[in-house]
């Protein structure tokens, strides 16, 4: 027994020793390999990494650009004089251009002159716009302007084109349609349509949209989606459509000549015609007659409106008028124009709105289009409308976008985040000077998952001197101060007689009251973004406001769900007066409203900033001189930005004590002269403002918001806003 045990023990030990030997052997082998030549070198060492001393002669010299090559080498840092812009971003237009330039160019210049950046003083200017029409440089065109080069050089502040913008839509001509504009524009920024990726000096030039002659100055056609269905699956009859010329010779022929391969006559309708120019029949090919026959069967506009995707192939030049037409029609563009630098590509994220196909892979287009999901279609389609409406639908928007892009290059640290260019409500309505974070603007709470602050600042506008302690202003103060949500009350004292001394004001409010007397000279001061207003919400009131504390709190609670709108009590409506052929204003009770007056309304403080800094001085002057219409303008502004109606809360319609007595006394009498005058003024304002905005921005609503148990036959004790029940 023992012997067997011993043998086993010895054997096992033997195995153990052998194993141990093998393992050790292996391990030592590993050690060797790890330390051996297998270790790879690093691609850099201390020396060649960061210690190359910068021994260039001069940093200034390095940045300057040899004059022979500036055309290609121009960038903002080398060809732009930033020192001219230190006093702000002002744009000068060389005068006396009227009647000497083409219609489109005249619109561009008009839009610049009407913008808030315009100056007529060249010494103030940061940017210069020549009065030489360079839009059309196609030698065969009617609008071709000769010898622009010498005209440009003759400009008094030309300075080899520094800080100038040259606009161009057409360059080159038959048969090769070159991209070169054909004249020397020195160091000027080129804002040109149909630029190619390789010619485009990124960060310096502006890729400009191809503007048609009938593009309007202001307003512009509404996107088609606003009046059609945004349903899923796409309700449009065709999947992909195109109707256009086919060039038998010259540039741009290859793509369009092969389109018939993809046409299937059912959901993909791609139509071409050979008919264009005088002598097309001479060059006519075998397909022409058949193509023409098919071509005549369909209507161009109908195709755009009835197709989910629209093909946008290159024409003679990279861009085509079609592109903007397709965007307006809410048809998702499918681009077949290799190397085309899309309009405003520096800021607009086109990948959210268009499908880029490759001319080399034309036959793949149907399968690409079919692979796009319904959700993506829904997204793209809305984005086409957003871009069209925000940046392209009028010459004014195009020009402002151009200016904003250049402005954002000048003070890069004060420019808006790229993201804001591609989100409702768009960059033109976002002033980066207001804040450098999205959270502070009224538009993004829902998507950021944040909420506006749960406090407000009450701003009370007072115009009457105070004699008694029972003055309406003091009552209003007390009512507002009782709110749980108020942090500060600001009284704007717009009155020749100074406010009573501080000891005469109600003392036990529990909320700081600030009386502003300085710089309250005009009615627009109501909307001045005082730095003392620190909350997101402003509760705008007048001295003799009748509102109860519950009403103040309830409107604020509604506003928190609609922070981008004006939420308040006095509602008004507008309508089109067929007889006078103009807009009219009404304060009559009706089933709809489109304005909520700022005499008793909550809104986001950003709108104060926008009112003061974005509206051009002429418009503000209209308000200040008449001491009227400020609230209408404010509604125009907010609806213009949001494309949404304001929100009226609860039944209360009269919000001022003075108005109440008027109503009681004059219910049966005709309006007093003063009221009549006031009313006529307001109607005039409506039309002035419509002209300024280029369109009627107001939106009507049929809805009013009430507390959940409002006037329900349940015990008042169960209701949160009891005071409202008794109003």
């Amino acid at each position: 027994m023992q012997a067997i045990q011993r043998y086993i023990l010895v054997t096992v030990c033997g195995i153990f020793v052998i194993l141990g030997y093998v393992c050790l052997n292996r391990l030592s082998h590993v050690g060797q390999r790890r330390n051996g030549p297998k270790i790879l070198r690093s691609y850099v060492d201390w020396g060649d990494f960061s210690f190359n001393e910068d021994l260039h002669l001069s940093t200034k010299f390095r940045r300057s650009v040899p004059s022979q090559t500036y055309r290609q080498r121009c960038r903002m840092s080398s060809c732009f004089d930033f020192s001219l812009c230190e006093n702000g971003f002002k744009v000068y237009v060389y005068p006396s251009w009227k009647n000497v330039v083409s219609d489109t160019f005249s619109q561009i210049l008009t839009a610049i002159e009407q913008s808030r950046y315009y100056t007529n003083d060249p010494k103030q200017a940061c940017l210069f716009i020549p009065n030489v029409d360079t839009l059309d440089q196609d030698k065969l065109s009617h609008d071709f302007v000769h010898d622009v080069q010498s005209k440009l050089s003759a400009l008094p502040y030309w300075n080899n084109g520094r800080n100038h913008i040259i606009f161009n839509i057409f360059s080159g001509t038959w048969p090769d349609y070159t991209e070169n504009v054909g004249f020397d524009f020195g160091e000027a920024i080129l804002a040109k349509a149909s630029l190619s990726v390789s010619k485009f000096r990124y960060g310096f030039d502006i890729s400009f949209p191809l503007v048609a002659k009938d593009h309007v100055l202001k307003g512009g056609d509404k996107g088609y989606l606003y009046s059609s269905s945004n349903n899923i699956p796409s309700p449009r009859e065709y999947l992909l459509a195109f109707k256009g010329k086919r060039y038998l010779t010259g540039k741009g022929s290859e793509t369009r000549n092969s389109l018939y391969h993809v046409h299937n006559g059912k959901d993909i309708v791609l139509l071409t015609t050979c008919r264009h120019g005088k002598s097309w029949e001479k060059n006519k090919d075998a397909r022409c007659d058949e193509d023409n026959r098919e071509y005549d069967k369909y209507d161009y506009k109908k195709l755009l409106y009835n197709s989910t995707f629209c093909l946008v192939p290159r024409g003679r030049r990279l861009g085509s008028f079609r592109f903007l037409e397709v965007l307006q029609a809410a048809c998702i563009p499918v681009l077949l124009s290799n190397r085309w630098e899309l309009p405003f590509s520096e800021v607009i994220d086109w990948s959210k709105a268009v499908v880029s196909a490759d001319e080399r892979l034309l036959l793949q287009v149907p399968s690409i289009v079919r692979s796009i999901s319904q959700s993506e279609i829904l997204f793209y389609r809305q984005q086409t409308q957003f871009i069209w409406e925000t940046y392209l639908s009028s010459v004014e928007k195009i020009v402002l976008t151009t200016l904003e892009i250049i402005k954002s290059r000048i003070k890069r640290h004060k420019s808006r985040a790229n993201k804001l260019w591609n989100l409702e409500p768009g960059a033109l309505s976002i002033l980066p000077e207001f804040s450098d974070v999205m959270e502070k603007f009224p538009f993004f709470y829902h998507q950021l998952g944040t909420k506006p602050g749960d406090k407000f600042t009450a701003v009370i506008y007072a115009t009457t001197p105070i004699a008694l302690a029972s003055a309406p202003l003091f009552r209003t103060l007390r009512n507002v101060a009782k709110s749980q949500n108020v942090v500060k009350i600001i009284v704007l004292w717009h009155c020749d007689i100074p406010p009573p001394p501080s000891h005469k004001w109600p003392g036990d409010l529990g909320v700081p009251v600030l009386v502003k007397t300085r710089n309250i000279k005009t009615i627009s001061a109501r909307f001045f973004p005082f730095k003392e207003i620190e909350t997101d919400a402003i509760w705008s009131l007048e001295e003799d406001s009748l509102l109860t504390t519950d009403e103040v709190d309830f409107a604020f609670s509604v506003w928190q769900e609609f922070p981008e709108r004006i939420v308040g009590y006095p509602a008004r409506n507008h309508y089109w007066d067929e007889i006078k052929q103009r807009w009219s204003y009404t304060s009559k009770w009706s089933n709809e409203y489109s304005m909520v007056l700022t005499g008793a309304a909550v809104y986001h403080r950003y709108y104060n900033f926008l009112y003061t800094h974005q509206l051009p001085p002429e418009v503000i002057d209209t308000v200040d001189q008449s001491n009227n219409c400020h609230d209408i303008l404010f509604n125009f502004l907010v609806s213009h930005v949001t494309k949404l109606a304001p929100i009226k809360v609860t039944q209360r319609k009269v919000y001022q004590e003075s108005a109440l007595t008027n109503v009681n006394l004059n219910a049966s009498k005709p309006l007093s002269w003063l009221q009549q005058h006031h009313f006529t003024q307001r109607e005039q304002c409506m039309n002035t403002f419509t002209q300024h905005f280029g369109t009627m921005p107001l939106i009507r609503s049929k809805t009013r918001m009430d507390p959940l148990l409002f006037k329900d036959p349940v015990s008042n004790m169960r209701k949160k806003y009891r005071q409202i029940e008794t109003v």
Partner: protein
């Protein structure tokens, strides 16, 4: 006795023996384990790459051999220099990338023509061959990666490397080839792009200027810094107070810049200007920087500053950029014309301050304009970018490939949000983001879910038929045993009625986006909602048109947090707040039916169908989560089913029902990982509701009863 003793002894011996034996066996097993496991370790080095890539082959290129090299084609664009015919070969949304076998290139004298591959280049190749992009078949490849290390131009024989590249089998003047380079140019000119004859190849380079960068063709990549990238820097909390506002830590800066910086430092002691340490000789110690004679550890010192200066040196690209980002410091980039890494997809306005060289003197003034909130966001963004795109060579290599991939398949490309937004649970992307008001002429489709209550169903149909904007009635017939009655027996309403026979009795059937629904607006109705007046329904439709991205309806409910159970509770009492509108009578956009059917998260749909309950709560969750918005309750109406009932008409308000509904809310909250529902305190009424005004002038008169 003797024998007994002996036996006893034997047994104790045998216990000892057994113990010994087991010990030995265990040790043996462990040895065996080591033996079995170790080979994979041993072979890791050897088989880092598959055999097809890692060859020991030596290629001889004679000095006299005529090889045509093409200088870098500066006019290249994606459409002119990249052949796309091969690119969709395997997959229509993913490019395939071939990596040339690793070979040594020598001339006839056995002199090496290229540098042996570096650790970093090796890692890049490794990352690519491990990725989904990789293909081992050059015939189906869209992109080719030569295994020639060109990361650093120094020590590189430019001419030889050009010849080696041109000799590659599929080179074709460089079309569809991708070359990585991190240190370009050399003294004294310091070109911003590697000076090898690369022809039409795509260059992923680190120091591009906007003049040398071929936009949408080349890729600008970060400069990887092996000297600090492995370092584990201490982790600080987000609101860690920073000692300095700005640090400049670069060495070898131009004298003109240094002068400006010294001036700035004198004016503001929140600006720390670091340089080489006085006692040190070349080569300097990279991890130490000095201010006068005070020594600071680099890059740790960068963690103490909010902003870090990244100034151009002799080269445009500087390792200081990724050093700063690694330390969570916001880079202030002062390098005119520098193309920021991955700028094609990354939004640098969110993570860096770009200042012109001319404005260097104003730099403190400029960074002081940034608000504390913005700074905090930028710090997070810097960290996010660093971790995702900068931290390793793998990240750099794969990001480069993804960018090229997006160019080849733009319609399948990644979005701005994918590249830039830090994933957060409460961020919503409202699918109906455009402020549209759907045209009234479209009308709405009433979708009625029914089982067998024919009488009540017909009553509902007749009622809803009176509503002017009704376009069509769609009846979802959920009864599997009994077919719907023939069309002749349905009430005539002057508008189309469509009956859809479902295949299974599931609640989710009511939210299928049937093709029969041709309007954007759906009115979901239960087959027993007989009390709604036509004015109420028409008004509800008008309200929906003003808020088409919300659920707009009549029966409302609330969710509440129950402190005693620490759970959400379902509440059906008449309250001052609501957070849900039930789909027994509610308007919503058809797209939400599409979402409900196709992209409901987790197993919510299954839960609903299994429990035969809570489909309405699920819809509320879905919509609130997609839009971030609350539903809207319309008119005071609170009773829907039985006109006679006097009191709170919750027929189903028994306890089990409430418990089940509460359970649903808790279940859905856990699926969404957040509570998306939002409470509001208001409802929508017609503008003249309860006003003392002639009824004939009111548009919606029959509104107001409960």
């Amino acid at each position: 006795m003797q024998a007994l003793r002996k036996r006893h002894l034997t047994s104790s011996q045998s216990i000892y023996f057994l113990l010994l034996l087991t010990t030995v066996i265990i040790i043996c097993m462990m040895m065996l384990m080591v033996f079995v496991w170790s080979p994979s370790n041993f072979e890791e080095d050897q088989f880092r790459f598959s055999r097809s890539i890692n060859t020991n082959e030596i290629v001889t290129i004679h000095t006299t051999q005529k090889i045509k090299t093409l200088p870098r084609d500066t006019s290249c664009t994606f459409h002119t220099c990249l052949e796309v015919y091969q690119c969709g070969y395997n997959d229509e949304t993913k490019i395939s990338v071939y990596v040339y076998p690793i070979k040594s290139f020598e001339d006839e004298n056995s002199e090496e023509l290229t540098l042996s591959r570096s650790k970093e280049f090796d890692e890049i190749l490794q990352a690519i061959t491990d990725s989904d992009f990789y293909t081992s078949d050059p015939n189906t490849a869209c992109l080719f990666i030569p295994s020639v290390d060109m990361l650093n131009q120094n020590n590189l024989n430019l001419k030889n490397v050009g010849r080696v590249l041109a000799s590659l089998e599929w080179w074709k003047d460089g079309s569809n080839h991708l070359l990585f380079n991190m240190v370009a140019g050399s003294s004294p000119d310091f070109h911003s792009v590697v000076e090898v004859d690369t022809g039409r190849a795509v260059i992923a380079g680190s120091g591009f200027s906007s003049l040398s960068y071929r936009r949408i063709f080349d890729v600008s990549i970060p400069m990887f810094n092996p000297l600090v990238s492995g370092l584990q820097l201490p982790v600080f909390s987000n609101n860690h107070a920073k000692k300095y506002l700005l640090i400049s830590s670069q060495l070898g800066l131009h004298q003109e810049y240094l002068q400006v910086l010294r001036q700035l430092h004198e004016e503001d002691d929140q600006f720390l200007l670091l340089n080489t340490c006085p006692n040190h000789q070349k080569p300097w110690n990279y991890t130490q920087r000095c201010h006068n004679s005070k020594i600071y550890n680099y890059p740790h010192v960068l963690q103490n500053s909010t902003f870090c200066l990244v100034l151009r040196g002799s080269r445009l690209g500087q390792p200081a950029l990724s050093d700063a980002m690694q330390a969570g410091c916001i880079p202030v980039v002062v390098a005119d014309g520098y193309v920021m890494p991955f700028s094609e997809v990354l939004d640098w306005t969110r993570a860096a301050v770009e200042v012109r060289e001319d404005d260097l003197a104003d730099i403190i003034k400029i960074i002081k304009t940034y608000s504390p909130e913005r700074i905090q966001q930028m710090q997070k963004q810097v960290k996010y970018y660093y971790d995702k795109y900068f931290s390793s060579l793998k990240a750099i290599a794969l990001t480069t490939l993804q960018i090229i991939n997006d160019r080849v398949f733009p319609y399948a490309g990644k979005s701005y949000e994918y590249w830039n937004d830090i994933p957060k649970s409460n961020v919503v992307q409202n699918p109906l983001f455009l402020p549209l008001s759907p045209p009234k002429s479209q009308g709405f489709t009433a979708v009625i879910l029914t089982f067998d209550r024919l009488e009540s169903l017909f009553q509902v149909i007749k009622r809803v038929a009176k509503v002017p904007s009704l376009a069509k009635v769609v009846v979802v017939w959920n009864n599997q045993n009994k077919a719907a009655p023939p069309m002749s027996s349905w009430p005539y309403i002057g508008k189309p009625i469509k009956v859809i026979q479902t295949k299974k009795n599931k609640l989710s059937n009511r939210f299928v986006p049937y093709d029969e629904i041709e309007t954007e607006c759906i009115l979901a109705l239960d087959d027993d909602i007989i009390m709604l007046t036509d004015d109420e329904v028409e008004f509800g439709y008008e309200v929906w048109r003003e808020f088409p991205d919300r659920l707009v309806g009549f029966p409302s409910r609330l969710h509440l947090w129950d402190n005693s159970t620490q759970k959400w509770k379902y509440e059906s009492e008449w309250t001052n707040e609501i957070s849900m509108v039930l789909t027994g009578a509610a308007f919503y956009h058809k797209y939400f039916s599409y979402l409900y059917t196709n992209s409901m998260p987790g197993n919510m749909k299954l839960w609903v169908d299994d429990h035969m309950n809570c489909e309405d709560i699920a819809m509320n969750f879905l919509m609130a989560n997609m839009t971030g918005k609350a539903p809207i309750k319309v008119t005071p109406r609170k009773k829907f089913k039985c006109p006679q009932c006097v009191n709170n008409e919750m027929l189903s308000a028994d306890l089990t029902h409430m418990v089940e509904r509460s359970e649903c809310i808790n279940k859905f909250t856990s699926i969404y990982d957040t509570m998306p529902l939002k409470s509001i305190e208001f409802r929508a009424d017609p503008v003249l509701y309860k006003d003392n005004y002639p009824g004939i002038l009111k548009k919606f008169n029959d509104v107001g009863s409960l």
